[in-house]
């Protein structure tokens, strides 16, 4: 590459806020005509780096130049040569699509009347043409991001910086964003895409991988992934025993990381480790072992020293769940309407005891509404729902006592200490006296919370915060556990540890209901219910869902491919029905 193809130069950049070091001695370059991913878990320093590159923050030490301009000394020029899309939707929700675009065009010094062809082009490019008069606040998550992109592209910046553009965007819209970004890099623009999802990073031409403010890898994602060639294996068809097998696999000294993939278990060997141990285990459980292509996420975890072990100290301590019926959760014709809008339409399914049941769907598909009705937080308009045989309409209180609930943002009390949070949860679920003390002691041991007892939950590392939230939800030993987007914004290692606990709980017979937008996580589920436009469009095992999406172009679909395929197929069927009706 020629030196003049370099769009961004970052040299020894340090940035700290009060006590936290956001970036430590970071040096990197970004090229024109390439899609560069800035990847890493939440809190790794991605947004700080993006803001430094757009001149919105100043580094405490070091320099950065964008398109040849220093971000501090030539701040005004930075705003001309860069287009920036902040992580949060930064446009005016009370202005229409067109008004927002005009505003940004004029702020960037364009004469709106003279640039009608650019507007037409951008509208065509983003497929927002039919919605120009719609208020931005009324757009879907995906369309908002496309509008943000259109506004950031006004006056053709040389460097386009997108801060987590795919957050809150369903896989279908995400495809669109990828397509647009691809077209822009082909024209020679430097596009920077930050993300916490490593499967997104894997699609970039080159990646800056951050962890705790440090650059841990820079280069094409394949380069990192290739380090795992010959170390990635899959134990096929372990079926019903896969959770027990995964636990054993993870406890092998030669294995650094492992996950469940449908009916199979995927394992990554430590560097220079032999496959013997894994082979023996496979023989013992009568599974076939197969070498598979490595994945970027596995490589990232390997880079950080491997994943957690396979045994959940917590689940070990819990008694086996006994239920009168084998059906833990069920709903029949469940419907919820808000005025004219139907959020959940005629949804029915049954969940077996000890099953991990996933609810998936694009934004606004009705996941949360369905979920809230199932755990008694919302009353259905029609239909019924039962938890461990209790009717949620009549025995809401009793049913709630039988379930544990972990909300999206952990919902811990920042002003109470860790110990007080535990005591509060125990109290809420009616545990008192010796029993309360004993359960709290179990949680502290099971989750290794001892060193943090007197700290505020806010000061805990993310992983411990998550453990605490889970401890609060399972303290009363509920037979059914509801998890609402439990791992959004959590780094992959913490996420694996979390699933170790969940797998352990499921093996003890706890029924797990989970909503997630991580397609990988859907793989941990026994069965997945796919909701779209308020209706249940598919319900099956992850493997069966993937099989249903096999096409000529896509012989080995991932969970995400299957998701896109099924949603598009449902839309197509809807359209046909409408046309047939006319």
């Amino acid at each position: 590459m020629l030196a003049n193809n370099t769009a961004v130069v970052i040299e020894g950049v340090n940035k700290h806020f009060a006590n936290t070091k956001a970036l430590r001695n970071l040096s990197a370059t970004i090229q024109y005509g390439q899609l560069t991913g800035i990847a890493g878990p939440d809190g790794a320093g991605k947004t700080t780096l993006m803001r430094i590159l757009t001149g919105l923050l100043e580094p405490n030490a070091g320099h950065a130049t964008v398109a040849g301009f220093d971000v501090v000394n030539n701040n005004e020029a930075i705003h001309v040569v860069t287009g920036y899309m902040p992580q949060r939707f930064g446009l005016y929700e009370d202005l229409t699509v067109m008004e927002n675009m005009r505003l940004y065009a004029r702020l960037r010094g364009m004469n709106v009347a003279e640039h009608t062809e650019l507007f037409a082009e951008l509208l065509e490019f983003t497929r927002l043409g039919p919605f120009t008069e719609r208020l931005a606040g009324k757009l879907s998550g995906g369309m908002k991001q496309k509008l943000g992109l259109a506004c950031a592209l006004m006056a053709r910046p040389k460097v386009l910086l997108l801060d987590e553009p795919a957050v809150g965007v369903d896989p279908v819209s995400r495809q669109d964003l990828w397509r647009m970004v691809q077209a822009l890099t082909d024209e020679g623009m430097a596009v920077v895409w930050s993300t916490a999802y490593l499967d997104e990073a894997e699609r970039c031409d080159t990646v800056l991988l951050l962890n705790e403010g440090q650059l841990v890898f820079q280069g094409p994602p394949e380069e990192l992934t290739n380090r795992l060639v010959g170390r990635s294996f899959r134990l096929e068809n372990v079926g019903a025993e896969r959770r027990a097998v995964l636990a054993e696999v993870l406890n092998l000294p030669s294995v650094s990381d492992g996950v469940i993939q449908g009916a199979a278990v995927r394992a990554v060997l430590r560097k220079d480790a032999q496959v013997n141990e894994l082979q023996q285990l496979a023989n013992r459980v009568q599974a076939t072992i197969q070498e598979v292509p490595p994945r970027f996420e596995d490589a990232f975890i390997d880079l950080l020293g491997g994943g957690p072990g396979g045994t959940s100290a917590l689940a070990e301590r819990l008694p086996k769940v006994e239920l009168a019926s084998n059906i833990a959760v069920s709903c029949k014709h469940l419907t919820k309407r808000f005025g004219d809008f139907t959020a959940t339409n005629n949804v029915s399914f049954e969940v077996q005891k000890g099953e991990i049941f996933g609810l998936l769907g694009p934004n606004g598909a009705g996941k949360s509404t369905t979920f809230k009705m199932l755990c008694g937080l919302m009353k259905p308009t029609a239909g019924e729902a039962h938890v461990v045989g209790l009717d949620l309409r009549k025995a809401t209180g009793a049913a709630k006592g039988q379930l544990g609930y972990m909300a999206q943002k952990f919902s811990l009390y920042g002003l109470l200490s860790v110990k007080q949070n535990l005591e509060f949860s125990a109290g809420v679920y009616g545990l008192s006296g010796a029993k309360q003390r004993q359960r709290i002691a179990e949680m502290i041991k099971g989750f290794a919370l001892e060193p943090w007892l007197n700290s505020s939950p806010d000061s805990l590392p993310l992983g411990f915060k998550q453990r605490l939230a889970l401890a609060c939800a399972v303290m009363h030993q509920p037979p059914v556990l509801f998890l609402d987007e439990p791992t959004s914004g959590v780094d992959p290692i913490t996420r694996r540890e979390f699933w170790t606990h969940i797998n352990g709980l499921a093996r003890k017979g706890v029924t797990i209901m989970v909503t997630t937008h991580f397609m990988d996580e859907a793989e941990y589920c026994d069965r997945v219910a796919l909701l779209h436009r308020s209706e249940l469009i598919a319900l099956d095992t992850p493997d069966a869902l993937k099989r249903s999406a096999i096409t000529e172009q896509c012989p080995d679909p991932t969970m995400e491919d299957a998701f896109i395929y099924l949603v598009e197929a449902a839309d197509l069927a809807d359209d046909l029905k409408k046309q047939g009706g006319v």
């Binding site: 860069t82 202005l95 505003l103 702020l107």
Partner: protein
């Protein structure tokens, strides 16, 4: 690369955007047009007050013993703060300049009137009608003093003999709404200027739109002016509306000129907007901004501006604080322009004070708003 620090086209785009938002947000219109009407009605009909230590003059035209005794009775009461005079012209000027709230004239023929039974009023009381509550208070209390004095002196003073002949200056009908309604305009302007501005700027920070706008070539000055200009116009429109309401519905006379009223209001918008801007730049959070605007903008304008409570009736430390409340200067100017006329000798110091406080706020706000997300 040279980028213009100030560009009218960019400013135009920002002003246009802000105007669209203001028009589409029902709460903005509610605050700008409905709230003033509610407040004006409230102040016009539902407020009553009490005062102590009122400064009045006693003009003792007669040197007779009873006249001297009555004058002494006035001087000894702790509710009044008496300035003695021999000639009514001395104190009349002080009432006009606001140093006294009224004066009592003990006429030359006081002794004769006292003893005669022909029903002539004993004394004359003149009060400052632009402070109707005080005026009422002065009138009533003076009556009480005379009756006490009469009883104490063992004189049989027939009630008829102490009949007063009150004359209220500036506000002849002594309607409290005549002085409250002009003052209420200051409250309305404070709400629009400080509270609304603090909210809308904080909203940009909160919703993340500020980050997006800051990443464009628009400069801080453009962003701030683009934010303030529409609210300045809105404030002026609300002033016009409130003034129309005052004149045509509450029958408050506008003795000064409309131009003076608008000029005063425009200058008052400087500290009001500056304060709102400062609050929002520091807090960047709508809830906090609203709280701070309430405590530092609305409440002082309400309580410390001389709108409801007379500044002269306040303890000295509080009086000192009022010097830093821009609404104080505006309320005084408003009362003058409505009830007295275009008295530029009163306006100029007020205008200067408002402009000075406003400039101070703007300098601080500009410092607090740098074109980045630091701090």
């Amino acid at each position: 690369m040279k980028v213009k620090k100030f560009d009218l086209k960019r400013l135009g785009a920002l002003v246009y955007k802000e105007s669209l938002q203001a028009i589409r947000d029902p709460s903005t219109l509610l605050i700008a047009f409905v709230l003033p009407v509610v407040l004006l009605f409230l102040f016009a009909y539902a407020v009553s007050l009490d005062v102590r230590d009122v400064r009045i003059g006693v003009v003792q035209e007669s040197n007779s013993a009873p006249a001297q005794q009555l004058a002494a009775a006035f001087a000894s009461t702790r509710y009044l703060n008496v300035t003695m005079a021999q000639d009514r012209r001395e104190v009349a000027e002080q009432v006009v300049s606001g140093k006294l709230r009224g004066f009592v004239v003990i006429p030359q023929d006081f002794e004769q009137r006292l003893h005669s039974q022909n029903g002539l009023p004993l004394i004359q009381i003149i009060t400052d009608g632009s402070q109707p509550n005080t005026a009422n208070y002065v009138a009533n209390y003076t009556q009480g003093v005379i009756q006490n004095w009469g009883a104490g002196a063992g004189m049989k003073v027939a009630p008829a003999a102490i009949e007063l002949e009150p004359r209220y200056w500036f506000n002849a009908e002594l309607e409290s709404r005549r002085s409250l309604v002009p003052g209420a305009i200051a409250i309305v302007m404070t709400i629009i200027g400080t509270m609304l501005t603090a909210l809308v700027v904080a909203r940009e920070w909160e919703r993340g739109t500020m980050e997006a706008v800051m990443s464009t070539p628009a400069s801080v000055v453009e962003i701030l002016i683009g934010k303030l200009l529409p609210y300045f116009v809105l404030g002026m429109l609300a002033t016009l509306g409130a003034a129309a309401l005052a004149i045509f519905v509450f029958n408050v006379p506008l003795r000064g000129s409309l131009a003076a009223l608008l000029f005063l209001s425009a200058v008052f918008m400087i500290p009001a907007l500056g304060q709102g801007l400062l609050i929002s730049s520091v807090t960047r959070n709508q809830f906090l901004a609203a709280q701070i605007a309430l405590f530092s903008g609305f409440l002082p304008a309400f309580m410390l501006s001389g709108f409801l409570y007379e500044i002269d009736g306040m303890p000295a430390p509080i009086q000192f604080i009022t010097w830093f409340v821009p609404a104080r200067y505006f309320v005084s100017s408003l009362k003058t322009v409505f009830l007295v006329g275009d008295i530029w000798a009163v306006f100029w110091p007020n205008l200067l004070a408002m402009a000075a406080i406003g400039t101070f706020f703007f300098v601080l706000a500009k410092r607090a708003t740098r074109k980045n997300l630091e701090g």
